[in-house]
């Protein structure tokens, strides 16, 4: 195979298209709200545009950086370590937002956790490839992933779930034994369950997903203790509301959509219209072509990423491509599923589309690495 770096055009094209499409949709979804809250309709889109520039630069940097340079213990351990420190710092500095405020922008360490963990796992699995089902391999891996995940869970359960699934995918493909894998899944479920139950709003979201009017809860728990716990969160009251509003937006869009910028659900009906629920705005304004097109775009990323993972001959590249692809595609699928009320509401952005600098930067960095793997496969 020729080692001449040639651009993976479809992957690059789709990425750039998604980023600019996202910029347009962020403007559409946020302009009214920005005008009302910040007296400038460009408040969000201007910031996002700046991040797009920085993110594309980052993308190009990683696209042209041979991915093997990342196969380095300093990068692998340093990345994870830095993320853990940042997470702790963020939690300590600003427990409410869990971000670090750099005056002009906020860095969300949770977003940076994904590439760090992926690089770490790829590195670790490559080194321990022959002894994958050995507890000396699994324990440190689980420890590192677990540490990061705990930190992320504290901030953002949605990202943690994506992270967990990504790690699981890497371990699975790396050849982990089925019984370990089952144990991992069981442990994850327990962990996620505990994480959900620890916060009233998270539990309320899950409960409302299956039992919107608390009818079941009332039967199980006549004393009302659970309801009282669920009712502690103000956000809980609105979780079904969010899903309902999202469905209205998507359903109202119909086959043709109401037209770009013409959406109405973003007029404060739909919460987080420019971030977590931007898919609903796209569906409302652009209809079925918009939603199916978006789905197709992520399908292309899945296809090209998995193909790269399959074709690449070195394990590090394979695990890297796999982890990056899975994390991005799974996050997208999760986000869309939330908007479609297929899974309970959780705070998770649509990669490359949603407003959010840290997310965009980290995603495009990941896409850059993925392109590099793809181009060298």
């Amino acid at each position: 195979m020729a080692q001449v770096a040639r651009t993976d055009r479809s992957l690059f094209g789709v990425t750039i298209a998604l980023v600019f499409f996202g910029l347009v949709m962020v403007y559409s979804a946020s302009s009214v709200m920005a005008h009302v809250k910040f007296n400038s309709e460009y408040y969000f889109v201007a910031r996002q545009a700046a991040w797009v520039v920085a993110s594309i630069a980052t993308l190009l940097f990683f696209k042209n950086l041979p991915y093997r340079r990342l196969r380095n213990p300093v990068v692998a351990f340093g990345g994870v370590g830095a993320v853990v420190v940042l997470l702790a710092l963020a939690y300590w500095v600003d427990p409410r937002h869990r971000w670090i405020d750099f005056k002009f922008f906020h860095v969300q360490p949770a977003e940076l956790a994904k590439p760090a963990v992926i690089v770490f796992l790829a590195f670790f699995m490559t080194h321990r490839a022959r002894a994958i089902n050995n507890r000396h391999t699994l324990m440190p891996a689980a420890l590192a992933v677990g540490l990061v995940t705990v930190g992320v869970v504290l901030a953002d359960l949605g990202t943690a779930v994506v992270l967990g699934l990504t790690a699981g995918a890497i371990l699975y493909v790396a050849g982990m034994d089925r019984r370990y894998f089952v144990a991992l899944i069981a442990g994850s479920i327990l962990f996620v369950g505990a994480a959900i139950a620890s916060k009233p709003y998270r539990l309320a979201r899950v409960v409302q997903f299956v039992d919107p009017h608390y009818e079941l809860i009332a039967k199980i728990d006549p004393s009302g203790g659970i309801r009282e716990y669920l009712g502690r969160s103000v956000a809980a009251r609105s979780s079904n509301y969010q899903a309902d509003q999202s469905k209205i937006a998507i359903g109202d869009g119909g086959v043709t959509g109401v037209g770009l910028m013409q959406g109405r659900q973003k007029l404060f009906y739909l919460p987080e219209a420019h971030t977590d629920f931007i898919f609903a705005v796209i569906a409302e304004e652009l209809g079925l072509p918009g939603t199916m097109g978006l789905l197709l775009a992520f399908g292309v990323i899945l296809w090209r990423g998995m193909l790269a993972a399959l074709r690449t001959e070195d394990d590090f590249g394979r695990y890297l491509a796999l982890g990056l692809t899975v994390s991005i595609v799974v996050q997208a699928l999760f986000n869309i599923s939330v908007a479609l009320a297929l899974v309970p509401t959780k705070g998770i952005t649509l990669p490359m589309i949603s407003f959010g600098g840290s997310s965009l930067l980290s995603t495009l960095a990941m896409m850059g690495v993925l392109m590099n793997v793809s181009e060298n496969s």
Binding site: V32, A169, Y172, V173, A174, G175, K247, I248, A249, I250, G251, D252, G253, G254, V255, R264, Q265, L267, F268, Y269, A283, G287, L288, T291, M292, L295, F298, G299, L302, W303, M306, A309, L310, R311, R318, L322, V326, V329, V330, L333, I336, S337, L340, L342
Partner: protein, 666 residues
């Protein structure tokens, strides 16, 4: 390159791709479900929450008097509301509102909390606040920091700038600005505009983002009344004065142009302020318009129409002699109020208000013609003015009349009329014998259109012109020499008739000692410009003393306002009032027929005085009629030629109401 799917990694990668693809397909299916299959459902949900159809109230039309003075107008005022669910600090909000609107803080706070508990997203704090309160709340609403939870809704409020003036004609409106009385109710459909609707695209806070006018509001029509506010003012002043002086219970006055039928003023007492909504404790009768809702036995004023009818249909002339005094019709005794009268001319009968004389005239006319004329004058029918609650009065069908009904109706019994009906009938005499339909609305003007004048009904001749003129002169006699001298006007000739009917107590089935005192008149005599009818119920004095001065006060001022040239020297000595008065006679009775409105008194026929039957035999029909007329003896003629026989015979006393039958042959 060997197939990558041989390795575990390759197979497991493929599995992951399939799982992801399946997830993607699930999403695609869900998208089809939401965006294609259930699209209509979600569109409706979206419309429902995003769009509000806001009603845009149409301004209610104004009511003007004939000179363009505003009698009723709608002005924009604010109403205050809050969304109890969205109040961040209900207690503070309640105290701010209570402070600004002078409400009880604790009650308001409790109410708001109660609504919030019941998940009510809307609550009126107070509707139609004063401009001062509005100013305070607006400064809070748009101040720093803006208290945007204070909701202000522009509403329309009816305002009657003249206060009580013409209250009964105008009526009033309820909280929704819908008429609930008077012209406001009568012309509701025209005054009320057609509300428009605006489709407001709103955000989740119900703040309008953009609105499109779905239907333009159509303001109500402006209505110009025939009322002259200046005359109305005089009328109400004079009526109030009389009511308070004589301690009457209710009263009404109608001033009408006898030619056009225009109602220049219409007042009722007790009165009310239309700016004040009906409230507990107010006089429940104050909002009733006594000018046409409460019919009464007109009594002596009705003699005018009897005389006019007799002049028109019989050979009676103003100079014809009518026997007067105590007469018996059937088993009832008809007497005079105070004095015993001998035979008098028809003019004198009216001037002195002789019941017996009028009854004679009525009997001469006969039931059939009496009925026809009374109905032509408009009695027994609604006048058709656009005000609610008009009574047609009471007038039995002629088939139900007894032999003497024409005689009783002749002096205003067995019939009930309204003040308005009397004004209408008096106009026929005043205008030379033509029917008029009372008119209250001069014109209506829809916004953006030219005013449309109310069409006057085509006049129909009811009386011969000479009859009308003769009746007018007889009525002038009443004012110059008779019971109505208190109605003499400085500078103007006037004609009129007094009336005092005992009020019949329908519960006790007896006549009370209270009178329905009325005066019906016109001025000037030669070419009357106004007809004024005054009725005071429950006064303890006769019409001449109570109602005539009201006529005098009203007519003098109204003629001046209408710039009618004077036809008499300014100073005219008013003849002092005689001690006699007209009035009815019916002693207290027990067995009355309420529908007949008449008490019956069984009397001893021996005491009855009736006319002596003259000898008609050997005379021509013409001579017989003239002789009978001059004596006031009703006759029935049969055959042609010379009178041969008669019944009853000459010299007999004719029972009242019975005609003399005369048989003629050649």
């Amino acid at each position: 390159m060997e197939s990558p799917f041989r390795t575990i990694a390759g197979r497991r990668l493929a599995l992951l791709v399939w799982i992801s693809a399946a997830w993607g397909l699930l999403i695609a299916a869900r998208l089809v479900q939401l965006q294609v299959v259930q699209h209509e459902h979600y569109s409706q949900l979206a419309r429902k929450q995003q769009e509000q159809l806001v009603e845009i109230p149409a301004p209610r039309g104004a009511i003007l008097d004939r000179n363009g003075e505003t009698m009723a107008i709608s002005t924009a005022v604010d109403s205050v509301f809050v969304n109890p669910m969205l109040l961040r600090d209900p207690a503070t909000s309640a105290s701010i509102l209570a402070e600004a609107l002078s409400l009880d803080r604790d009650t308001l706070a409790r109410d708001i909390a109660d609504r919030a508990r019941r998940k009510r997203g809307f609550m009126w704090i107070r509707r139609r606040i004063s401009p001062e309160e509005s100013k305070v709340l607006r400064s809070l609403r748009y101040g720093q920091p803006p208290l945007d939870w204070i909701g202000l809704q522009a509403e329309s409020q009816r305002f009657y700038p003249k206060g009580q003036i013409a209250a009964h004609v105008l009526g009033s409106v309820d909280h929704a600005e819908t008429g609930n009385g008077g012209i406001e109710l009568g012309l509701e459909s025209e005054l009320q505009g057609i509300p428009g609707a605006s489709r407001v695209l709103s955000d989740v806070h119900r703040a309008g983002i953009e609105s499109s006018m779905a239907v333009e509001p159509r303001p109500g029509a402006n209505v110009t009344l025939t009322i002259d506010e200046r005359i109305q003012f005089i009328v109400e002043r004079e009526l109030r004065l009389a009511m308070e002086t004589h301690r009457a219970q209710t009263g009404s006055v109608v001033v009408m142009n006898p030619h056009s039928g225009d109602i220049l003023a219409m007042a009722s007492y007790p009165t009310f302020d239309p700016n004040v909504r009906p409230h507990p404790g107010e006089d429940p009768g104050a909002r009733l318009n006594n000018a046409f809702t409460a019919p009464f036995e007109p009594g002596s004023v009705f003699k005018v129409f009897t005389m006019a009818t007799a002049l028109d249909t019989t050979r009676l002339t103003p100079e014809s002699i009518l026997p007067c005094g105590r007469l018996v019709m059937g088993n009832r005794l008809v007497g005079e109020a105070k004095n015993f009268f001998g035979p008098m001319t028809a003019t004198q009968v009216l001037e002195k208000s002789s019941n017996a004389g009028s009854a004679q005239a009525g009997l001469m006319v006969g039931a059939k013609k009496m009925d026809a004329y009374v109905r032509k004058f408009g009695f027994g029918y609604k006048t058709g003015i656009p005000l609610p609650g008009e009574s047609p009065g009471l007038l039995r069908n002629v088939e139900q009349w007894n032999k003497y009904s024409a005689g009783y109706i002749a002096f205003g019994h067995e019939i009930a009329t309204t003040t308005l009906q009397l004004a209408r009938a008096c106009s026929v005499v005043a205008n030379g014998g033509l029917s008029v339909r009372p008119r209250l609305v001069l014109s209506r003007q829809r916004p953006g259109e030219d005013p449309v004048a109310e069409r006057a009904s085509a006049p129909e001749r009811i009386l011969k012109p000479e009859t009308a003129i003769r009746t007018r002169l007889m009525m002038e006699g009443v004012v110059l020499r008779g019971t109505g001298r208190a109605a003499q006007l400085p500078g103007y000739s006037a004609g009129g008739k007094t009336g005092s009917a005992q009020i019949f107590d329908f519960k006790a089935k007896r006549y009370t000692h209270e009178y329905n005192s009325s005066f019906m008149g016109f001025a000037p005599v030669a070419n009357p410009q106004i007809v004024v009818v005054v009725t005071l119920n429950g006064a303890r004095e006769y019409g001449g003393a109570v109602a005539a001065p009201v006529f005098r006060g009203v007519a003098a001022e109204a003629l001046r306002i209408l710039e009618v040239p004077k036809d008499l020297p300014e100073q005219i000595p008013v003849t002092p009032q005689d001690d006699f008065e007209e009035g009815v006679i019916l002693t207290e009775a027990s067995d009355t027929d309420p529908s007949g409105l008449l008490a019956e008194v069984p009397t001893d026929p021996a005491q009855v005085y009736g006319p002596v039957v003259p000898d008609f035999r050997g005379k021509t029909a013409r001579t017989v009629v003239e002789e009978a007329m001059s004596l006031g003896v009703p006759i029935v003629l049969n055959g042609k030629g010379i009178a041969r026989t008669q019944a009853p015979p000459a010299g007999a006393i004719l029972p009242l109401g019975e005609p003399v039958h005369v048989l003629f042959s050649r």
